[in-house]
Symmetry: C2
Subunit: 425 residues, 2 copies
């Protein structure tokens, strides 16, 4: 296993900017102490003595970030996709999440989730746990051991829950404060993130308390926003004081910096809501497969992209059926085409290089200098073997990566993965 | 390798009808001389002496049919998906198909396509070749050797082609007639199918000639219909004599029986066109992934399904990026949800059991008594290992198959495949 200073030889490809890929075929990606030193067509003499990891013929790209994934829902992935969001939560999701009060169950389930995530193409993840502190800390322990970098959230929910899955408001805030104190410096790779489930699950008092915690403790925050039409109607009923769904987070201090915030979905954000998100720098975790599988709709990714908003990509397991971020990239593109065709021809489809940018640089920036091969960025690296995608057609390096996004599970194989210069497999 | 008479023990699941799955856990599927004898909870004494293939714990389902796939486009799968249909054909497809004039190229490319199809979940396929007779016969030879059952078409196109990819009308008809004579009895598993590319590629004279061949030779026919809005407009210009795109095939005799016809796509069929298809019994090969990837739209599958029309499912490689029919099933469902949400809430989403029915019984019926485990049906069988889809949640057999459709490439594995009782792998 390569240590944190090494050179990878291969066909190196990364986002040169939001809309295009750069590549150096048979190039050298030099990593020094976990950071990218540069990409070179010939190995500079000063690096001649460091370890060479020879991946000649393979693609070498920046690591992918899964910016929205529910660890406790992994157990029922690929099932229960016959309902829309609110019924799906009550019928399948809440009963499953309630099981995580049992640490034995949580251990068995999280072992599978963490192992599969480790072996996936995801280098970093922003993860929902459940409302249970012990199970969430166990999840953090397990994620820490993989070497992946993650933010993990103990969920807050004090209304509209289910038997065994609802908190007292003050207890929720007290538990969260204690959990932050216990975990914020415990791990090298794993950090806590405030995680109010979504407005329908959180009273105004809880939302305000979380907003205060965010400001006081300077920790990031994740939640859901404008995923489903019935959900949006419900929020309008629950929070008549808010000008839009996004305003429920804004007015309760949850989008205030300097710590970042990230909202999943934003399928139906209004002009007002878009202004709130843009004004606060709030990230959007786009989850195209989940939005199809739960019949939610298709987010206007092109609008957000052209506005220069902070975008990331998520699997949203188990609204999405699997952890594949290559599939998420392909779906970002294909569903944006259907939105263009079926909903609004003023918004051009997203291209594969743009979706790769969102899934690498976009999600990576939530973590810092992550997601590309510019010098000084943390060395998150995927080595991709596309030799199993057999063809008589020769492609340049950029188009091989584009093809890999479609064929990752049809002949493609992730050969190696590095996070901040540490080899995961 | 099991011969044509054997019993498979496993968790057996098949379509009990258009909307639901039947299952026998730890059951016995008995095959006698390539035909299904029955599914039994206990092995009847009369079958005690035949070979037992023990697949305890695995799913056993009917074979999947890929009802629309372009063999020569497999070489550029997963690339060139940045254009709509007509530009895509001219820019990527026609130049690639022209290469199949060179038998050496065709051999290298078709070896890959056929090998990957053999190792896929597809048991039967309805395949487009190119206009080249020698390359198409080579493709037929190779498919025959796999044991898969297929219809294969030498393409006809005498207008709007590309350099090296356009025929003289009379030569096209003469070549097709000779090719039919040469191949219709040559193979056990592989049969010719008339394949006018689509109306924009075929003059009225060619279309009429093909219609006459269909009637005279009683061979089936495949083509494309109402895939893309610009295509439909173009057909209206080219054929002012037709009441709709489908009428161009009807009036030229191409939908007349008794031999079957199948039209790919039908994303935008008008009421008139639907009546033509229903009245003639013409099949529709639905290709949801391709229709997303080429920004064509989403077909109203629910309408066709509730009308009881003949439906099948296709990968449409290389408009679709891969051969996975499990992915085609999952996309049929997820995109029908988006159509319901974004286009027409009067048409309910398709369910997974309905999509499985289309992909097994639906496509299978084009070949005869194929696609289910009723006694007397040809024994097309997939054995599915879902032990790699690790979970703490227990599912019944039907829901394990539903999950497999989403997870086929995320932990799932096809363990064995049989076509008409012959083991392929």
């Amino acid at each position: 296993m390569a240590e944190k200073t090494f050179t990878i030889k291969g066909d190196i490809v990364w986002s040169a900017g939001p809309t295009e890929l750069a590549a150096v075929k048979d190039g050298y990606l030099v990593v020094v102490d976990g950071l990218v030193a540069g990409v070179f067509p010939e190995l500079p003499a000063e690096y001649a003595d460091i370890e060479l990891v020879d991946k000649t013929g393979m693609l070498v790209m920046p690591g992918l970030v899964d910016a929205h994934v529910h660890a406790p829902q992994y157990a029922f992935r690929g099932t229960g996709l016959d309902l829309e969001l609110l019924d799906w939560l009550n019928t399948y999701t809440f009963p499953e999440e309630a099981k995580y009060a049992d640490l034995d169950y949580a251990e068995r389930a999280y072992d599978i989730f963490v192992d599969d995530l480790k072996n996936s193409e995801t280098c970093r993840a922003i993860v929902f746990g459940t409302l249970h502190v012990p199970a969430t800390e166990m999840l953090m322990d397990k994620l820490e051991a993989t070497g992946l970098k993650s933010y993990v959230g103990k969920v807050n929910m004090d209304r509209n829950g289910a038997p065994g899955l609802e908190e007292d408001t003050r207890q929720s805030l007290a538990d969260t404060e204690q959990w932050l104190a216990d975990t914020r410096d415990r791990y090298e790779n794993t950090k806590p993130i405030l995680t109010p489930r979504f407005t329908p699950s959180c009273t105004d008092e809880l939302m305000e308390g979380i907003g205060k915690l965010k400001a006081a403790q300077n920790v990031p925050l994740q939640s859901h926003l404008s995923e489903n039409l019935s959900e949006i109607d419900w929020v309008a009923e629950l929070c008549p004081w808010a000008s839009c769904y996004g305003d429920t987070y804004l007015q309760t201090g949850q989008l205030a910096g300097p710590a970042k915030s990230i909202m999943a979905h934003c399928v139906y954000s209004t002009t007002n809501e878009v202004e709130i998100l843009k004004g606060t720098g709030c990230y959007i975790a786009l989850c195209p497969e989940s939005n199809a599988d739960l019949a939610s709709g298709i987010a206007p990714v092109r609008m957000y992209f052209d506005l220069g908003m902070n975008l990331a990509l998520g699997s949203d397991v188990a609204g999405g059926p699997h952890l594949s971020m290559f599939s998420a990239i392909a779906h970002t593109v294909s569903l944006s085409k259907l939105r263009w065709r079926c909903v609004d021809e003023s918004l051009k489809p997203i291209t594969i290089p743009e979706a790769i940018y969102i899934a690498t640089v976009g999600g990576g920036s939530f973590f810092g200098k992550v997601g590309t091969f510019e010098p000084g960025f943390e060395a998150d690296i995927l080595v991709l073997d596309d030799s199993g995608i057999r063809s008589t057609v020769d492609l340049d390096t950029q188009h091989r990566l584009e093809r890999f996004c479609y064929e990752a599970n049809a002949g493609g194989r992730v050969d190696a993965k590095f996070v901040a210069g540490r080899q995961i497999f």
